[in-house]
């Protein structure tokens, strides 16, 4: 069983957990979302900055287990600098890996460090941990892509909503701004 545990907690995952990449909430951004996992209470605030068809930045702050925190870090590392189109392809590949019940072999050329999550797919209770940030990113990206002028307003409103929900999160975000 501890072999199984090691397939879940790959060294890469533990590294990202201890040293999260691209952590913090940054400017500029076109959309900010706040996603929660209602079962365990994990929370994530995530911002995306898109320009010229590229994912210019993914910034975030949140609270969660090693799997959800590491997934966010790996995702940000993977997506920043990619075209939105490429990023959506990577998103799809990660989703298929997670929903594959351990029967889908990951493509390292596409997922890079994301392949470390292969073992997570065998633990149904943890799949939602790994997907929290990816779902948040997709949501934020969709919001950023639709009606950029409306987004300006939505962004302000959502930033306010988020500061009500997680004032701690917001404070830290502000110092990083």
């Amino acid at each position: 069983m501890s072999d199984d545990l090691d397939t879940l907690y790959q060294e890469i995952i533990l590294d990202h957990y201890k040293n999260p990449q691209h952590h913090g909430l940054r400017q500029p951004f076109e959309a900010e979302v706040h996603h929660v996992n209602p079962t365990c209470g994990d929370e994530l605030t995530l911002r995306v900055h898109l320009a010229d068809g590229l994912v210019k930045d993914v910034s975030y702050d949140g609270n969660g287990c090693s799997i959800s925190q590491a997934a966010t870090s790996v995702m940000a590392d993977l997506l920043i600098g990619k075209s939105v189109e490429q990023a959506l392809t990577i998103h799809q590949a990660f989703l298929e890996l997670m929903q594959g019940k351990g029967k889908v072999a990951p493509d390292e050329a596409v997922l890079e460090d994301g392949v470390a999550f292969e073992g997570v797919a065998k633990f149904p209770a943890r799949v939602k941990c790994a997907l929290l940030s990816w779902m948040a990113w997709k949501d934020a990206t969709a919001q950023a892509q639709t009606a950029p002028t409306q987004n300006q307003a939505a962004r302000i409103e959502s930033a306010h909503a988020s500061s009500r929900l997680t004032s701690q999160t917001k404070t830290q975000g502000d110092t990083n701004d």
Partner: protein, 413 residues
């Protein structure tokens, strides 16, 4: 190992629970420390339910044949058993529901609130004794108030006289906290409610498994608990209420079996308990619950409580030997029940539960449906171990050892 207070026949009792023989992945013996979530089931409950399905199954109260009579008799005798378990003055005061949540929703839906009224709850409520009252107050334009908590995890009663006032219609509170473990002063709270003419509602979901529950001794108006935490099956809960109060409430669900007579224009309603048991009830589950409460009563709730206290004392000592571990709620076993929530510095509860599970130790991780209580202590989520009458000291040792291993695995400290 023998601790004072442990059930003398612990090994015999363990043999009543077939699941405790389970071996899990990796050859680990099950160490089940999630009984506050749901308890395991003794053979007598399993056998009673199987026997009913194999030999007596029929609908109740409507089937004019021998099986119907047997089924009705079994269902109604389960009501007698629950009435004895609660020391209820009348069997007609025992209403079967789907679970404790439904029982609380029934009350929150049928107790009449008006603008200007208030409902007083506590900050340590399970969401099931919180959300229904939020909804009820929103519907009625009534005010929701709550008693706060002290840093030690007790109810803060310093402003109780101000909160519970002449406009208070309901005082609803848990007897034992599912997160902090705290045992609340039930009789004191019911007396405060009575003094202002308010109804008292006691959530005994965590108390009924491990304490003697006597509705007359605590002098409450309503009390609820769920079957699956007292060694019974899921799908069955109990609402107990004073007969005159139950008969004063409007019906909750309309349908078959809850009526006196029906015309196309209007209906008149049966008295409690049938008033609140519309439709075919969970017959099998009620019968299983009857067997379960008899099983607990045969062992004795005083002895079960002493066992829980002994295991809790031992567990509190063991947990506090783990570096970086902090217990939420009272650290005196005598002031608490058998659920102990804790934090382990540097490791998220999900990850703790995962590593523990890899060694066969089953605990719960999350907010335990008590988000406000977690927020009160600045905690997002926690890990919770919860023992029961079948828990042994070596199982606590296995938990503590697995927690040391967890720290090592995540390279903490």
């Amino acid at each position: 190992m023998t601790l004072p207070g442990l059930l003398p026949d612990l090994e015999v009792i363990r043999k009543d629970f077939p699941i405790l023989e389970r071996t899990l992945a990796g050859g680990h013996r099950l160490v089940y420390l999630d009984s506050a979530n749901t308890s395991q089931k003794p053979q007598v409950v399993i056998d009673t339910m199987v026997d009913h399905l194999e030999r007596h199954n029929a609908n109740i109260a409507r089937a004019m044949h021998q099986l119907g009579a047997e089924s009705t008799e079994a269902y109604e005798s389960a009501r007698d058993k629950v009435a004895r378990f609660l020391n209820a003055p009348s069997r007609d005061e025992v209403v079967f529901t789907k679970n404790a949540t439904e029982a609380l929703n029934l009350l929150a839906r049928t107790i009449v609130l008006r603008p200007g009224d208030n409902v007083v709850i506590t900050e340590m409520e399970h969401h099931s004794n919180l959300v229904p009252w939020q909804l009820a107050c929103e519907r009625a334009g009534a005010e929701l108030r709550w008693l706060g908590l002290t840093d030690e995890g007790h109810l803060d009663l310093s402003n109780a006289d101000r909160l519970i006032d002449e406009h208070t219609k309901v005082v609803a509170f848990t007897w034992v906290s599912n997160m902090l473990g705290t045992i609340n002063p039930v009789s004191d709270l019911t007396a405060r409610a009575r003094a202002v003419g308010a109804l008292s509602v006691v959530d005994a979901s965590q108390a009924a498994p491990q304490l003697p529950v006597d509705v007359q001794a605590v002098d409450c108006d309503f009390l609820v608990f769920t079957g699956h935490k007292v060694c019974g099956p899921t799908g069955i809960g109990v609402l107990w209420g004073r007969e005159e109060l139950l008969n004063d409430l409007q019906p909750f669900h309309g349908g078959g079996e809850m009526i006196e007579t029906v015309t196309m224009e209007r209906s008149t309603y049966a008295k409690a308990p049938y008033r609140f048991e519309a439709g075919t009830p969970p017959i099998l589950e009620a019968i299983g619950l009857g067997a379960a409460v008899d099983y607990l009563s045969d062992i004795g709730l005083d002895d079960i409580h002493a066992h829980e206290q002994a295991i809790t004392t031992y567990a509190l000592e063991g947990l506090q030997s783990v570096p970086g571990l902090s217990v939420l709620g009272p650290v005196e076993a005598s002031q608490r029940g058998g659920a102990i929530s804790f934090e382990l510095e540097g490791v998220h509860p999900h990850d703790i539960a995962q590593v523990l599970d890899s060694r066969g130790v089953a605990v719960r991780a999350g907010h335990h449906c008590a988000k406000p209580a977690h927020a009160r202590f600045g905690v997002q989520s926690s890990t919770r171990m919860s023992s029961y009458l079948y828990t042994t000291a070596p199982e606590i040792d296995a938990l503590v050892e697995a927690l040391h291993h967890t720290r090592h695995y995540f390279k903490v400290g």
